[in-house]
Symmetry: C3
Subunit: 261 residues, 3 copies
């Protein structure tokens, strides 16, 4: 299919992303490049990993997913390409691929060590351009993954907070805040399966109670609602507003759901 997705923290104000795309098209002229995001906060591996994991399975089979959130560029961290049942992934081996890979059937993991796959001059500050873009373009063009370097066994993971089950409650936390100010938690929708979600309640800041609903407009304008969102996790929204602003919560803030059968 020749699709390459890009997830980076390079922003769009400089020439970094455009340069990577130039390199990709030089190596694989028929590549079709899709931006997932370039506005991952600088160096925030978890946010980049979350964006990639939330979107990668909506792409055509065979897509090469390239993620470069790489605060350790030029240092000791490794760089890998991974073949799964449906996709390829490439990026620094620092956890940025790990949330996506956790849901994939992994076929092979290879270290990026074959310099023939890189640009002829490799800087120590911009591997996105010099190593990752040309490698992704070669995979997109059909290069067998074993050519990029030797196999390795695992990959670096992220510490990811897991929700805790209590008597009649689940305690989780906010793991991502989107542009609408929706507070996305680590509580999966399946944890509520079989329950009467209309009677479940979400509690923030100890005492503020938010009803569960099926969609943002399930409550009146300016009112808060907790929904199982499009990524199958519980998120808190304010209809027509920003839950992040309304509740003053951030990444890591605790939330509880009081379960009701």
């Amino acid at each position: 299919v020749n699709v390459i997705s890009l997830t980076t923290d390079f922003g769009t104000q400089d020439w970094f992303v455009g340069t990577m795309k130039g390199v990709i098209l030089r190596v694989c002229p028929r590549a079709r490049i899709v931006d997932i995001t370039h506005e991952t906060p600088a160096g925030d591996i978890r946010a980049g990993a979350f964006a990639l994991a939330a979107s990668c399975r909506f792409f055509p089979k065979g897509t090469v997913h390239l993620a470069v959130v790489d605060p350790g560029v030029g240092g000791a961290r490794g760089a890998i390409a991974v073949r799964t049942a449906d996709y390829f992934f490439a990026g620094p081996d620092n956890g940025v691929l790990s949330l996506a890979l956790a849901r994939e059937r992994i076929k092979a993991i290879h270290r990026l060590e074959n310099e023939d796959c890189f640009l002829s001059r490799v800087s120590r500050t911009f591997h996105g351009r010099d190593i990752f873009a040309p490698v992704a373009a070669r995979l997109c063009g059909g290069l067998p993954i074993r050519k990029v370097g030797p196999r390795q066994k695992g990959f670096v993971g992220l510490r990811w907070p897991e929700p805790q089950m209590r008597r009649g409650e689940i305690e989780g936390e906010v793991v991502y805040i989107d542009r609408f100010g929706n507070l996305i938690t680590n509580i999966r929708g399946e944890a509520l399966r079989g329950l009467d979600s209309g009677r479940c309640r979400l509690i923030v800041r100890g005492t503020r109670v938010i009803p569960m609903g099926t969609h943002y407009e399930a409550v009146g304008n300016g009112r808060a609602v907790a929904v199982v969102g499009s990524s199958d996790v519980v998120e808190i929204a304010v209809n027509g507003g920003s839950a992040a602003r309304e509740f003053g919560l951030g990444i890591g803030s605790r939330v509880r759901i009081r379960l009701a059968g």
Copy 2:
């Protein structure tokens, strides 16, 4: 031509737009996707409608214009696809398509109700991914529009302020502010046709008089000028500066043009 344009308020910091593009390429691998904007203020149907109307006619014939500014997602608002003489349009039936459609020759309007055209699982919070992207991709791939659902007669409009003619004056208002701080009004350039625009004057805040000119540099650096801009409406600019900041005006602010033959 296989072109799909996208106009949304999803922003580019999250994975929403990239995911829609992944879905589009999965359904229609030869689609060519062009972003109009994703930075429509969250939920601002009028701003999204304005951006689409200002740009859609510059695209190749046959383009599928998809606009998703959708504060009522998952609720009672309808969703439509429209075939016009030159284009297709798709989006929620909430007015976001209406300014563009007002200038088109409409051939058919259909409700999006055929679930075979959607993703197999449809969330109630992200129809951009689950309904609109796959429908736009199918239209791009040649699916006859009648397959997306039953015909309907009209579409939801927006209340759009019309300028008022007075003795020797036109009164209008600011309807859009662009990134340069240019104040774009609802007064069409043709309203000035046949007049001596060099002697017309635009008045803001009751007393501040701004000359008409043909282009931004028609006045000295830092000076204000009113021009018939690239969208054929009167806009107020400050050469080398921001008219929005200079005059402290916003959307809805009144302006008058004193006409001179």
Copy 3:
């Protein structure tokens, strides 16, 4: 190769860039469009020129590089297309192409004067859409450059600060600040060739001494380091932070490197 790169100050919140892309695809349906950046500060010709020069040579041969940072649109400034040994360039003749062209082997420079290459109606406020996009699309489609208008000899340059050599020192200045807060200077890496960079020191604000290193992680977290970055010029970084914030420096701030053999 049919690649067109775009560098503008149009931002992405309005419809300007999307409209240019619509025009390009109408004129040259097989064009492949790559954004270098659209977030050049409004009217900042130098910043646009720097972004283009830093990235253009990573694109496939034959790419048409279009740069529109054009505060004088509609006024007296010229507009040009340039053929070099490897690329085409097009844009206003105001210096925005000049840093890139300084490193190219120039074959021909032509004024954009043939109205057959433009849109049929040309505004005086949006030449990006009406003149530059269609001309770039025609060059991309194979139109010989002499068809766009008559030849001219030179092009407008930018005053660009050159670093000064002193006894044992180079004095340069900050010419660009990227999204990570890295301070990019005008001191080329080759100026340090043959020296023991481990013993060279960079000095800012008269007294603050920053060690040279090979990559950002060469120093501890939160520490400053000067590296020869990916554009082959000296830049100042803070590992895991922002050098611009740390040092309070901006464009034009002086820096010195004390050389050591």
